[in-house]
Subunit: 415 residues, 2 copies
Amino acid sequence: MARSEGSTSLTLIPADEARRILADTPPVGRERVAIGAALGRVLAEPFAAPADLPGERRAVMDGYAVRGADVRGASELWPVVLSVAGTVPMGDVFPRGVGTGEAAAIATGGWLPAGADTVVMIEHIVSLDGGARVEISRAVVPGANIVERGEDLARGAAVLPAGRRLRPQDLAMLATFGVTVVDVRRRPRVAVLSTGNELCDPAETPRPGQVRDANQTALGAQVSAAGCDVTYGGIVPDDASALRRTIARALDEHDGVILSGGSSIGTKDLSADALADLDAPGILFHGIDIRPGKPTLFARAGSKPVVGMPGFPTSSLIVFDAFIRPMLWRLGGEGGRDPWPSRRPARISREHRSVVGREDYLRVRLVERDGGLWADPLPGGSATLSNVVFADGLVRVDTAAPALAAGDPVDVLLY
Amino acid sequence: MARSEGSTSLTLIPADEARRILADTPPVGRERVAIGAALGRVLAEPFAAPADLPGERRAVMDGYAVRGADVRGASELWPVVLSVAGTVPMGDVFPRGVGTGEAAAIATGGWLPAGADTVVMIEHIVSLDGGARVEISRAVVPGANIVERGEDLARGAAVLPAGRRLRPQDLAMLATFGVTVVDVRRRPRVAVLSTGNELCDPAETPRPGQVRDANQTALGAQVSAAGCDVTYGGIVPDDASALRRTIARALDEHDGVILSGGSSIGTKDLSADALADLDAPGILFHGIDIRPGKPTLFARAGSKPVVGMPGFPTSSLIVFDAFIRPMLWRLGGEGGRDPWPSRRPARISREHRSVVGREDYLRVRLVERDGGLWADPLPGGSATLSNVVFADGLVRVDTAAPALAAGDPVDVLLY
């Protein structure tokens, strides 16, 4: 059954306390994956530069490799003419050094020949004698247009911390150093189940009194977007022993279980019953002082998290993003990530008063108006799904500032 | 070869003009996918509510379904006592209506029996006579604690626009209406190739003069994160006819081709040569007035985009995010998305002067200092990769405000 948002028999804990408990979730184990499959995976060990980067002095412009001392004083009045000793081949080394009075043509990325410490840009030379000599008629700073060995990174420099979710630039760095297999955390395997006699599968036509189970689809998508492998466990009838057996089986084969529905203290409180005899530490909280999503339940069987989600789709969607997603990031070994990296400052267009101690999440639409960005709260409570679909994001009204006046600045947590 | 950032022979177009040309990219075709595989896919047709939501009047609290007229005047002094007609079964309908002076126990989500239009919260009743009657001693607003048929969405209401990249809440909405197969755009198939004799595969040990090709790994990850299926095409030697054949073959089998390296006007401008005889419209621009990433090349063979990326890994990473990712979103049918949804306001800690007409992208680290958030530009030019790995994001210095003083407010485009 759907969980009531109005029950008073829950022992609510503050949102900050819930976050602290959820953040204690220990990570899953490790595996090794090829770099081509490592995007979005979580690094298990810190990565330090195994060598200097670049490994040699390189040109960062197309031009001529020269000795800086030769060209420092060049000017329109006193141009410097150098003889061209050849061309640095790309992907190979120049067979000899560049001596005083000499230059070697070089392309961006080429290794500087021995003796050369400077590159004169191709646009700043004039070719003489069919390319046998080059004339330089403006001063060049010695060391210009090159990158020194180890200038980007010195061998041993800390580059990527353990717990980093790998981004394209991180993979570029690993590839640069020839690291093609990476130690990462396993993707957590998470089962998603629904409980409730009133639910039917989305593919079925509901009988009178039934509704389609939208939450399992949404939770599966959210779990997958949080970097986990999801198993859809279907709908379990409102029966404590069936639920207990299903959860036990799901825990055997997964790193965590998320149960949709059934966490209210209402007429049929099955989830709490079914979770009462989990392995220690068992139920860690049942009820957070938030709106929407108050009846959220969190337990651990050993190191494996078990979550009872609020039943209204909107509550479930919001509680997942605000509380469960950061917990799954921890389960996946990721540390210290901002749960809401995408924010936009705006002004709230209507006043809002929260209850002291409670954290509220308002669904808002962003609208440009009067030369500013406004957050318009959308109508409809947690029983309506459209507001979270039409919303651009959420405004968190936290316990530090429970009242907002119209026009107050807010941070919109973007979808 | 790596593309020089210093060439002056390119005909640079303004960044806004490049964005306009890139946004013209036509979308790929459609396919139908199951809702469980539709997260992040792009909706091909708008979706309107096929029915009222909810389909019936439902309880949003656990309590008793009553006639509002019966309980409107209830008070401590004049409590109302109603006789309990039974319990609304979850997932089924109450077999008869609720008459005057009657109440039926109901759980959150239950359908209201005929005649009932209000739910009194379980916390606000006192059970009498072993549950045969209930006493209500506070006024209840008629219509409280229910959601009316169609209150969330009326049949026919516009819900999701075509071009929407489907989020978990969008999938919840589709599932609620029993839509389990969705019309979406195909995932674009994109080939990534590198050119350059100086490059070797990351798994190989570079010969003297060579470097490992980090760009293909990074570009493949970026292309995949942009919602495309990527094919890694390996490294093509610096040979115009080999390159031309490889691109032609890649275009036969893909919706677009991204070529890393080879777009400079330097000693060996192969990419532009190789792309010169593409089908119309061919090369659309070669050079954007930006830093880093100036020598970026963009062509279309019919409807298929072909991109020549700048060769420095840092330039390639930034140009992809700023220009090519939005183009691939268009190719995938997504419209109107903010290329940088994640922003954070901060103050720049050092002055920066751009050249008039040029758009600069600074790599910055966010640091809390003196009670504010500061964006510290990281040292190192486009030839260093570490700055883009250590950066929290970018500051775009656009042509409207080419000079920043230390302390000026900036929007940090977050990674």
